[in-house]
Symmetry: C2
């Protein structure tokens, strides 16, 4: 058993030092009571925190390399949804035991992603306890360009990046809710364990998109957050929601469940004015990511009773969906 | 059982909104993918994170009001040790069940302390899981005035705020390692459960102290961090380390263990030049906190083998101590 300090030093602090390319004059990383970090001039710091618990956010047998990746990815995804440039993160974790092989693979997965985005590990905390990972991430964004949830406007298109539902499909395969061929199952599992934060897209959408968020709890629930904060309604074509070829091979009702109420997608859902369609398409090309229009934002009708999504299918026929987002205090 | 969203809204988001007096133009609190926060002009953001686990950092039967206080207090203590002005914090927690009475008391303890320091709750995350609290705290400090661990200078005095050891004495009483009268036991328990972050002192020491840290793992271990980072040695009078009258009523060897290797004190240990003694005393008066000189910082001797603390007693006789700081992967 390694002691706490040698463990931190070996797998995290020394590696953070070796990386340490982003810290600027006066900034300070691991090793003091606090880290010191500053947003870029005339920008603000975008801050988000996510806690991952074994059995709830990942399976006990998850590859620790994938876990290191995912723990940071879900946080970077929040920066992406704000249009913020990643700067650094803190990592606090509780571990039942300090196993070197586990920590080595976990820190590899974590730092490989951190290095791709120039996001420095600047501090943390470790303790013994049931496995729990809490990352807080810091980015920089000009406040007037931040992609806020309350910024949707009537008439905006609703866009989705990439495809939705593969992660939920993977969970269903693992749980035995449905089955898939070996290749498709691997695709789903990869989506579940190694989500890609859409950081470049978030940056490319600055000044183009109005509102944005990342889809972590399912489109149906997450889009409601934009509608609530913007006090608007939406009309969405459920059949237009983008999905992978692998997902298309599952039954239609499974596709709908996975794409609309799946969770763990970490794609961006954003709104942008009709006049910005060409600019949105160009942003998608620039970051090499398909972007799909799935609906429109509308002013609430006279009889509106809170924010609502009016779903329809490809023929325009209305759909009544009773889907809800993933709630951590309810069974999924 | 409350749902996650209504739980957050009722006990945290609405209360944070009601408080929300500190957020400035362009800043953003709870409810988006990220919060937006900026340090003061020409300052940097001081950032620290701490994770508290049941059975390790607090007992399962802890008063939830005290737990809410302590979870934030230990984080504010890190800002204090950096000389930073508190601005905000994020709270991520895992709970086995969402009990309203527990959450109500916990959030009361948390917000009462937050309001005292004008420190806004700006974001968070909640999940089901074994009880775990992770707070990340943000303050603002001019980088040239930050009280860094690597800033001690040969000849500096070593100072301690308040008294040390009461929290460890309280742990010993609970564990049956020693006993105390009812009043003293209550004093100890209060120190253990309701530590006071020395925020005002940290601010008052800007430009006066050289190095500083907060004593969370015991003076013997924590002072070593200053010595390691500053590449210096220390000479400390173990009998001069300040202690409460309650602690003085325990056996001498218990006093020594509690004051030097206690942990959970959250007092500041700092170094300052001899020429600043009057200024240090004045800072102590200003914040109404006793400050005690316990030793001096020295350049390493020619045969030095890493940082070392040379302990002596009140008569000047050398002491050999084998105390070590609290290590979360070893038994205490």
């Amino acid at each position: 058993m390694l002691s706490e300090f040698s463990l931190i030093d070996r797998f995290f602090a020394r590696r953070a030092d070796a990386m340490g390319r982003r810290l600027e004059q006066g900034e300070l990383g691991i090793g003091d009571d606090c880290a010191l970090l500053a947003p870029r001039p005339r920008e603000m710091m975008a801050i988000s925190t996510d806690m991952l618990v074994e059995g709830r956010h990942f399976f006990p047998d998850i590859d620790p390399h994938a876990l290191g990746h995912k723990a940071l990815a879900v946080n970077l995804s929040d920066l992406a949804a704000m249009g913020a440039q990643p700067q650094g993160f803190t990592l606090a974790f509780a571990l039942p035991e300090a196993r070197e092989d586990w920590l080595s693979a976990f820190s590899d997965g974590l730092f490989e992603l951190a290095e791709r985005y120039g996001c420095d590990l600047i501090g943390g905390d470790t303790t013994a306890g049931p496995l729990n990972l809490c990352i807080t991430v810091f980015g920089s964004v000009p406040p007037q360009l931040a992609l806020r949830r309350d910024a949707a406007k009537p008439g905006d298109d609703i866009w989705i990046s990439g495809t939705l539902g593969d992660a939920r499909a993977g969970l269903g395969v693992i749980r035995g809710e449905w089955s898939a061929g070996e290749t498709d199952a691997a695709t789903f599992r990869r989506a579940l364990e190694r989500p890609e934060p859409r950081v470049e897209l978030g940056l490319a959408l600055r000044g183009i998109a109005h509102a944005a968020l990342d889809i972590s709890d399912g489109l149906a629930g997450d889009l409601l957050h934009i509608l609530e904060r913007s006090q608007l309604e939406a009309r969405v074509d459920a059949d237009a929601v983008p999905r992978s070829n692998a997902l298309r091979r599952l039954p239609a009702e499974v596709q709908r469940r996975c794409t609309l109420a799946g969770g763990d997608d970490y794609e961006l859902c954003f709104t942008a004015p009709v006049s910005a369609r060409a600019a949105v398409e160009e942003a998608g090309h620039k970051v090499n990511l398909p972007l799909t229009r799935v609906g429109t934002i509308n002013a609430p009708g006279p009889s509106a009773n809170g924010p609502a999504i009016h779903w329809h299918d490809a023929t325009g026929a209305p759909l009544t969906l009773t889907l809800q987002g993933f709630d951590h205090f309810h069974a999924d």
